[in-house]
Subunit: 607 residues, 2 copies
């Protein structure tokens, strides 16, 4: 059974990604103290361990049922949600003007990791609500904010993101949902959206849909998409849910995992709850600028999806370790106890467990580092440099730097961590042997739940393309090199460290950073030369190379800031057993493209 | 929908692993001709495509139900099984004296790949029967053979392997099932066995269980285990099923995948179908030598499980390719057609598809090569050198060589191929994007079905240990180096080839073979020095290094023997994009052990 790893989470947050240093500089305001952080982590751990974890498997078992557009969630989940929002958990990072606690994103991530370890399927609901809060806060009118924000911040109502249509997945340019101005300031929305997470449920008495659609005169492509707020029930003057809007859940998907989370096909404006005049919606942001508004929420949603990978990996690791300590088979080197040895002592099992733990820790640090960067991209007065055009003038250098850092790290946090989630859950099954294949054990569920994260919020292939095509050029290409320079300081310190337990960590990290530097420059040159196909061919191996290298540095940094031998041993294991993959990835990026393109025409044929 | 890739299977069999050369030398007898092979492959493809593939998903959907010990399989499966055995498919490799066609193992593998692509869950049933045939043929008394073999060869009855008990999985020394001599030449069997594939079903009117159990005076450990034949119904004089024996299916597992295959807990001798005097069994082989007998069937079962990985990978590749050719999203480099490009043209998707296909082809060749080695380990008169003690005198050198080759390749075929099955099915989901996570698509089922293969028939960790500890020392360590020398000939030929399409294949293979040679020798030195813990720590990365290197060589060999540009392009893609992982694996084997053992005590702690 999952137990929130509070000291690891706390150490990673405070020391590996420098939350404490920023806090001491007053970057998070005076209210945020070490005591407050500890209290929040402890209390969240209690809720995750005692209240959420035991109910997690219900979602997998019960799934969701849909009847006449009404969705029923798993046994105990609606009540769990109510207790969870009563605890104030939905509001911790929300804006203070609307009842939120305004705590840093990075702290919110640390807490969200626990919810996601307990149940990703459950936690998706507040993840989506958080996105709606961000989009509304950044782009909504004061009137819309007044009506919706407080309820979304508290979690009394939940939010959704409606992007995908059957023909428009990774390529939103193809979307067809329509919006027509009604003449009274509202719009009428028509269309079908698929894969809408928590598009319908029984947790709350209203649901606020954010919907991408095209206005009649909109330009083709992505510059003709607008964002609308479409509530399930149109709020009355007093804020209570009023008239039912013409939007409903047509069906839910039968999925590999996250069974507890309803994945809905949503129908807008077909007349089931209205007069076929369309679902009523309100514009968010400017007309035809909907994608920009959506990106506000998508960036953070990507990070939160990356965190799902971390969270599942942690849960899978704990489960596998517990099994390996209990299960006894065979004789292990050095085992002199009675009878068979616990399988944790077999070198091959230990390799699996250490790989699981090292990858989990690396991904955690990357996600938290991205969270801190988002926090520091806000100036102390709460204005973010991130949403602004790159190189916007008038922002403090510091916030611009952190904004670029957040943008750089987001695709890595998303893709690297979700791949780690799948890989670690997969190895977790293996550690269990035959028991891992039996659903009762729960190890298989973690793989099933993990498998969606590399797909949604932009597939990991899309993230890799984003990293190469949009993030490497940031700040004229300097943003990424500045980051590598920072990582080099960790490697140098590890190399100079007297901690024998770190082994060859410093040397290994330096070599990996040399490679990363070289490949990064090479890719930037390809982009400048207009050789996009070559750059794109190497995008996925490059992203993993980046993730492994950064992750290895963070593990070493955490170890040097910590006192436990375990941290140093783990950082060393990563450096000496995991990190070597980066050399092979470098080779794929820099020499792989010709055979990739040469093979295009003939090699894929089946026969 | 899966279509058996007949020309690829045929080319791999005939030319990549030299079936044709052996056939022309008359190694398979006069009856085996090119025409016969082609006719069998074509007819098997027809049955797989038209009759088996459409019913495959039923197993996943319906699962199996158990009531009062009676198991009902999926809609249409019992009938499918009857049509399949009526087609003579169960008998193709069976002994001619008992109604089999006595065809080569390698040809049987080629055909079995098709069944497994169509449905692993279905095909497990004959896989297990084949194991029972082999054990009985090699170790059974003439009387037992006369009663059972013909029916098992035809598939009129099926066979099972009963090894695992709750406390005895990888370590069979711990097994507790008991066998007591009844005084009349039979034995009485008591105990519980778990994870018994097709332990009960509705395909046939009798089931023949092969069961490991301990005699009362047996020594402890693996030298005190005997093998027994325990039929569900004791045959009458006329060969029809007679009295019900006291063995039954207590329950079936709720598994991640292969839902169509009943995974049974079997109870022996508890009195449900008898007087508590035990289930009646007959000894196979000598008392206390049961494990040796079981290994006869386990070796080939391991290879067949490896083939499951190949088969699922092939099915996953075909499904992903079909989707990628149809699905359109975004603009791809070089796309000048109307609207969005088929996603197969996006470099990142193409990388995924080529990786899937290249790994599948590599694993296929390794499995077939292992099959050919088994065939050639039989002398032309049908006696196998393989089961005999290593270095047995009186066998032709040639059969001894092939016996060692089969033994060497078996763990690689099993573990590398089943890892490939999981990896390829996993990437297949990714190619489908959101559709991959929805069960209707079928991509997710392939991952669920694939996930068992790295676990059963000896986990892949056990295979790696087997490779390092038992197979590297074969023939005083020469067997493995002789094999590497053979692979070098392929690399040299590729390097000298004028086929531009092969790119740097020769050079890349040579480098990988240099590494494999070096690591192999290094591991052998560790074993000789008694440094078993170091050797064990590197076992898993070494096995993968071996598989990738051998697989890359086979792809190149197949390409040089073939005429299609696609084969050369694929071999090159493997050499230039996949193979580089071997350098990292070498590093893990040779430098990874110290950090693995250093991390033992502290790094695994959770907090």
């Amino acid at each position: 059974m999952y137990r929130a790893p509070v000291s690891e989470i706390s150490h990673t947050l405070k020391h590996t990604v420098d939350f404490s240093a920023a806090m001491e500089k007053g970057r998070f305001g005076e209210e945020v103290s070490e005591d407050l952080v500890d209290a929040i982590l402890d209390e969240a751990a209690r809720f995750a361990n005692e209240e959420m974890t035991p109910l997690g498997p219900n979602g997998d078992r019960d799934g969701v049922s849909v009847k006449d557009g009404t969705v029923t969630t798993a046994e105990g989940w609606a009540d769990l949600y109510r207790r969870w929002i009563e605890g104030g958990w939905n509001a911790i990072t929300g804006p203070e003007d609307f009842g939120g606690q305004g705590l840093p994103m990075a702290l919110g991530l640390a807490v969200a990791e626990m919810w996601n370890s307990a149940s990703v399927a459950f936690s998706l609901c507040p993840t989506l609500t958080m996105g709606a809060v961000e989009a509304l806060e950044a782009h909504g009118t004061d009137e819309l904010k007044a009506i919706y924000l407080e309820k979304l911040v508290s979690g009394e109502w939940t939010g959704t993101m409606n992007l995908t249509e059957p023909q428009a997945g990774s390529d939103l340019a193809a979307l067809k949902a329509k919006a027509e101005p009604a003449g009274d300031g509202t719009y009428r929305i028509f269309g079908q959206k698929i894969y809408i997470t928590y598009g319908e449920h029984d947790f709350t008495d209203n649901i606020v849909h954010l919907v991408l659609a095209r206005l009649p005169d909109a330009p083709a492509g992505t510059r003709g998409i607008s964002l609308f707020l479409v509530p399930k029930f149109i709020p009355n003057e007093d804020g209570t849910p009023g008239t039912r809007n013409d939007v409903y859940c047509h069906s839910v998907e039968h999925k590999l995992g996250i069974h507890g989370s309803p994945t809905c096909t949503m129908i807008y404006g077909d007349g089931k709850f209205g007069d076929e005049a369309g679902a009523i919606g309100w514009l968010i942001g400017e007309e035809n600028r909907g994608l920009n508004c959506m990106f506000t929420m998508m960036n953070n949603a990507r990070l939160l999806v990356g965190l799902e990978g971390v969270a599942i990996a942690e849960a899978a690791y704990q489960k596998a370790l517990a099994y390996a300590e209990e299960r006894r088979q065979g004789k292990a080197p050095g085992w002199d106890g009675q009878g068979m040895a616990p399988i944790v002592l077999h070198p091959d099992v230990r390799r699996n467990l250490l790989t699981m733990k090292a990858l989990t820790g690396a991904a955690r640090a990357i996600c938290y580092a991205c969270g801190i960067a988002i926090d520091l991209s806000h100036d102390p007065h709460g204005v973010s440099a991130r949403g602004a055009a790159s190189g916007a003038e008038g922002e403090a250098d510091d916030t611009s730097k952190w904004s670029a850092r957040a943008n750089l790290l987001t695709p890595i946090a998303k893709a690297f961590s979700t791949d780690v989630g799948v890989d670690v859950a997969n190895v977790g099954i293996q550690v269990h042997g035959g028991m891992g294949y039996v659903e009762e054990t729960g190890a298989a569920r973690l793989l099933r739940d993990a498998r969606i994260a590399p797909i949604y919020e932009g597939t990991n292939g899309i993230q890799a393309i984003d990293l190469v095509m949009r993030k490497l050029p940031l700040a004229d290409g300097r943003a990424v090199h500045d980051y590598i320079v920072e990582l080099r300081q960790i490697a140098e310190k590890a190399g100079q460290s007297n901690t024998q337990a770190l082994g060859a960590t410093g040397e290994r990290l330096t070599r990996a950073l040399d490679d990363l530097d070289e490949v990064t420059t090479w890719l930037q040159e390809r982009l400048q030369a207009g050789e996009h196909d070559i750059a794109l061919a190497g995008a996925t191996p490059y992203l993993r190379q980046f993730g492994l290298t950064a992750g290895g540095c963070y593990l070493a940094k955490g170890a040097m800031a910590g006192s436990g031998e375990g941290q140093a041993a783990l950082a060393r294991f990563f450096a000496e057993n995991v990190l070597s993959e980066t050399a092979s990835l470098k080779d794929r990026v820099m020499t792989g493209a010709p055979s990739l393109s040469a093979a295009a025409e003939h090699a894929l044929v089946t026969g």
